[in-house]
Amino acid sequence: MKPTDIAAPDYFHKVVDCQWACPAHTPVPEYIRLIAQGRYSDAYMINWKSNVFPGILGRTCDRPCEPACRRGRVEETPVAICRLKRVAADFKDDITQRLPRPSAKNGKRVAFVGGGPASLTVARDLAPLGYHCTVFDGDPRAGGMMRSQIPKFRLPDSVIDEETGYILGLGVDFKGGHRIESMKALLAEKYDAIFVGSGAPRGRELDIPGRKEAAANVHIGIDWLSSVSFGHTDKIGKRVIVLGGGNTAMDCCRTARRLGGEEVKVVVRSGFEEMKASPWEKEDALHEDIPILNFLVPTAFIHDNGKLTGITFQKVKAEYDAKGRRNLVPSGEPDQTIECDDVLVAVGQENAFPWIEQDCGIEFDKWHMPKVDPQTFVSTNPKVFFGGDAAFGPKNIIWAVAQGHDAALSIHKMLSGEDVTERPLPEVHVSSQKMGIHEWSYDNDISNDKRYKVPHRDKVIALKDIRTEVELGYDVKLALGEAHRCLNCDVQTVFSTSLCIECDACVDICPMDCITFTDNGEEGDLRQRLKAPSLHPDQDLYVSSDLKTGRVMIKDEDVCLHCGLCAERCPTGAWDMQKYLIEMTHAGSACPTKSRSAA
C-alpha cells in the first residue's frame, strides 16, 4: 500500500465516524467536549453554525451519526449524540449576541418557496451576506414540516419558534400564509435567485377496494398530523389502525393514542427489523402500548354502507432470491381482518409540483422530479435551486440542512459571478493536544459507562396531553456521564515515520491491538496480517512510509479508542495526538486556495 496521505482532508474526516456520517458534517466530538466542560453555549453555537436547528434536531434527528459512532463497534451502544445536542440547546445561555448581525443589503433578492428547514438554512447562510431573502409559506408560521408534521409531544412549538426566530431575526422577510401557486409568476418578479424548499407535501395513497366508500374514516397520515398540529383535528376513533412502518407512522400512532385512540395498532407489510422507522421511535411506540403487526399487506377496507369497520390483510412472508433481495410472497395462511374505526395511511410521501409550469425552463425527469445537480442543487434553470425533500424526495431534516448549505454556497457563487461547480474544500485546523509528558488537553481516560437512558415523562401523564413533551432530556449529571463516553475520535493519532525507532512500545500498549509493524503488501494481504483481525474493511488502514528496517507501520483505524497511549508510550514523539477540526465551507466563509471539482 502507498503511504497514507493524511493531508487530504477526507482521511482524518473519515476517522471521525459521526462527523463523516452526518450530512451536515457537524463537528460532534468538539461540541461533546464543550458540553463536558459545561460550555453549553459554545457547544450550541458549533451546532448552530453547522446544523442550524440544534434544539429541533436534538429531539427529532434521524441521527445517521449514531449507527456510525465508533463506540458502537467497541461496545454495544453508540454515544447518545443526538440527545447531547439537545443538552447544549437546553442549558445554553442567551446566545442572541453571538448571532450574525443583519448586514447592509447588497441589493440582490432571493425568493424561497416553503419555509421549512432547507429554505431556512439557505436564508440563514445568505442573509448575513446582505442578500434580501423573502420566504413564502402557505402556513402562517415558519418551520414547514417541523411544525406541521412532527407532533408537539416530541417537538414543542417553543423550540421551533426560538430556532426559526434566530433566522428570521437576521432580517429575513417571512411571508406566512402566502402559498406560491405559480413559478411563472414568481419568476416574473425578477428575483436574482429562487430556492425551492417546498418539501414532499403529498402523502401516498393506498388505492385498494373500499378506499372511496370508507373515505370518511381513512386519513392520509401527514395531512392528518398537520391538521392535528394546527388544531383542526382533536379526536379519533377508539380503534385505530396505522398503515406503514416509517417514522410518520410512529408519529401517527402515538398521536392517535393521545386523541382518544385506545386500541391503536401499527400494521406493516415488512418484518419488524426492516421497518423504515428509527429503532428508538419504534421503541417509543411500543412503550405507549401500541402493538406493531408485521408481514400483513392490506387488501381491502371493509365498510358497512360507507362506515369503516375494518381492514382485510393478506399474510405474507419474506423470501430472499439468489442476489439477497427480499420479496414478500403470500404465506398461504388465511387472510386476517382487523376491526377499526379509523385508519391512518402513512405509506410514504411524494413530491408534487403542480405549481411549476412546463415552460419555465425547469425540466423534470420521468419520475416527475426536477432535474437537480446533486452537488450544486441548481435546476435546469440556472437561477432556480432546489433543496431538501423537494430536490431528491423525502429524507430527514439534517439532509435538508446539509443541502441548504450547499445550495446557499451555489447561490452566493452564482450571484458573485463565480463558477458554481468549483466547490471549496472544508476548513481544517490541526493542533497537537500535548500539554506535558503525559498530559493532553482532552480527557483521554476512557469511560466504561454504558449508554445513559434519557428520562421520559410518566406514561399516564404523557398520554393525557398531546402538547406535553415525552422526553425530558438529560440533566447535567447524566449529560456529563454520557459526554464522557465519547471517544474523541477527532483527536487523531498522527505518525511521523522519521522519528520512529521501532521499539514496539505503541504496539504493546495499544488496548485495541490497532497497530502492526510488518512488511508492506497489498491491502487485502495486509488485512490478513494485522495483529487483530480486520473486522470492517470499510475502515481505513493508516500506512506509514518505509521504516529503517524496511517494514511499515499499519494502523487499523476501526476500533482505536483515541486514548493516546501510543503517544504516551512513544519515546521519540513519533506518535502525536492532534485535533483535526474540520468545518465545511458555507457561503461567505473564506475560501481555501485549493478547490475540489464538483465531479
Binding site: 463497534r73 467497541v74 461496545e75 503525559h438 483521554n444 481516560d445 476512557i446 466504561n448 525507532i501 521501532e502 521499539c503 514496539d504 512500545a505 504496539v507 504493546d508 500498549i509 488496548p511 485495541m512 491491538d513 490497532c514 487483530a532 483481525p533 473486522l535 529503517k548 528496517t549 476500533v559 479508542l561 486514548c563 497511549l565 504516551e568 508510550r569 512513544c570 519515546p571 521519540t572
Partner: protein, 351 residues
C-alpha cells in the same frame, strides 16, 4: 509514566485460547517504566507466550529482584503469584519456592545488574543446580535507575551516553549459563517478538534450568551511537542461528519450511519445538560447539541469537534430590511425622 489505567475495552475480534482468555487477560498493571523501554516488549512477549500456552495464571509464580527489569512482573500476569525479592536474591527465593511447591511454573525475571553484579553468585548456583525455571535476564547493559552507569554486561569499548568508554570486560551471561550446565540457553532481542515469544514458550515447557538473555535497549540511557545495546546496533549485528515455533496440544501446525532445515525437539511437557535453522551448521544439542560458536562470533562483534543449546532430556533439582512427586508444601503432618514408634526405633539404632 502514564497516569491513566489501560482501558478495559479490547478488540472485539480478539482470539481466545483454550481457557477462553484473550491475551489481554494475561496483562498486569500499566507499566511505570520510561516510554519505549525494551523491557515493556519483553513483558508483552511473556504475556503472549503464556496466552499461547493457555497457562492458568494461578499456576505461575513470577519472582524478581531489584531494578527496572525486576519491576516488570507487576506489568504482566496480574492474577499470578509474585515475589519481589532483595536485590540479586531472586534465584534463592525462586529455588526455595520451587523446592516447597514443584507444581508451579517459575518465572525468574532479572536484569543485568541484578544477575551479573550483585546477584552473580545466586544466578550461578540456581543454574548449576538445575532448578526447574525460566530465568529471563532483561539485559540493557546499563544501570537505568541510577542514571546510566555501565553494568557488568556492557561491552568493553562501548560508549556511555556521556561519551565515556567502558574499559571493563563484559560478562556474557549466556556463556556462563552454558558453562554452568543450563539445559536450555537462548538469547534474543526485545525488538524481535517473532523470535522471542516462541523462545519464552519453549523455555516454559522445558524441564530444568532455562536461561534466556534478552537484549533490551534502555531508551533513556543506552540507545545512542557507540552503545552496543541500542536498537540500531543490535539490529545491525544480530546473527540469528535459528527461529522456532512451539507446537502445543492438538492443533497440528503445518510447518512449511524446506525439508532438512527443520529440526523437531520433543519437550517433557509434550510440546514440540520446530526449529528452523538459519545457520545450517549450527547444532543446538552441542554444548561445546555452542560455546565456541558464541565466542567466535562475539569476537567479530556479532550478537548470536536464537535457541543456542537445549537438552530435551534434562533432569531438574527435584530429580537430583529425589524428592516426592507431591509438592512438599501440601504434605500433611501424618505423612511428614513418622510417629514415636519409628522415632524410638531410629534412636535405638543409634545407641
Amino acid at each position: 509514566m502514564t497516569y491513566i489505567a489501560k482501558p478495559k475495552f479490547h478488540h472485539p475480534g480478539l482470539k481466545k485460547n483454550e481457557l477462553g482468555y484473550t491475551h489481554r487477560d494475561y496483562e498486569g498493571k500499566i507499566s511505570t517504566l520510561c516510554a519505549g523501554c525494551g523491557h515493556d516488549s519483553i513483558t508483552a512477549s511473556i504475556i503472549e507466550a503464556c496466552y499461547e500456552l493457555s497457562i492458568e495464571p494461578h499456576r505461575v509464580a513470577k519472582i524478581s529482584g531489584i531494578g527496572c527489569s525486576s519491576k516488570t512482573p507487576d506489568y504482566f500476569l496480574g492474577n499470578s503469584h509474585g515475589f519481589n525479592s532483595v536485590h540479586g536474591r531472586m534465584p534463592s527465593v525462586l529455588t526455595g519456592a520451587n523446592l516447597a511447591n514443584r507444581d508451579l511454573i517459575y518465572l525468574g525475571v532479572s536484569g543485568d545488574g541484578d544477575s551479573a553484579s550483585i546477584g552473580f553468585g545466586q544466578f550461578a548456583h540456581s543454574i548449576r543446580r538445575g532448578v526447574n525455571m525460566t530465568y529471563i535476564v532483561e539485559n540493557n547493559g546499563v544501570y537505568g535507575l541510577t542514571k546510566g552507569q555501565f553494568s557488568a554486561t556492557a561491552d568493553r569499548g562501548s560508549k556511555s551516553k556521556k561519551g565515556v568508554t567502558n574499559t571493563d570486560n563484559a560478562i556474557d551471561l549466556v556463556a556462563i549459563a552454558l558453562q554452568l550446565g543450563a539445559t536450555f540457553v537462548a538469547r534474543s532481542f526485545s525488538g524481535d517478538k517473532t523470535q522471542l515469544v516462541p523462545l519464552i514458550a519453549a523455555a516454559i515447557g522445558h524441564k530444568g534450568a532455562s536461561f534466556i538473555d534478552v537484549i533490551s535497549p534502555c531508551i533513556a540511557f543506552n540507545n545512542h551511537a557507540g552503545s552496543t545495546k541500542s536498537f540500531d546496533y543490535v539490529r545491525e549485528h544480530n546473527d540469528a542461528v535459528n527461529r522456532l515455533d512451539v507446537l502445543v496440544g492438538r492443533d497440528p501446525i503445518a510447518v512449511d519450511y524446506a525439508p532438512g532445515t527443520v529440526q523437531m525437539v520433543e519437550q517433557h511437557d509434550g510440546s514440540r519445538i520446530a526449529l528452523r535453522k538459519i545457520d545450517a551448521d549450527y547444532d543446538p544439542h552441542d554444548r561445546l560447539g555452542a560455546q565456541t560458536f558464541l565466542q567466535k562470533h562475539a569476537a567479530k562483534g556479532q550478537i548470536v541469537t536464537g535457541l543456542l543449546y537445549v537438552d530435551p532430556d534434562a533432569e531438574d533439582l527435584h530429580e537430583h534430590l529425589n524428592t516426592v512427586e507431591t509438592p512438599l508444601n501440601t504434605l500433611e503432618a501424618d505423612t511428614l511425622c513418622p510417629g514415636s514408634a519409628m522415632l524410638d526405633k531410629f534412636n535405638a539404632s543409634l545407641r
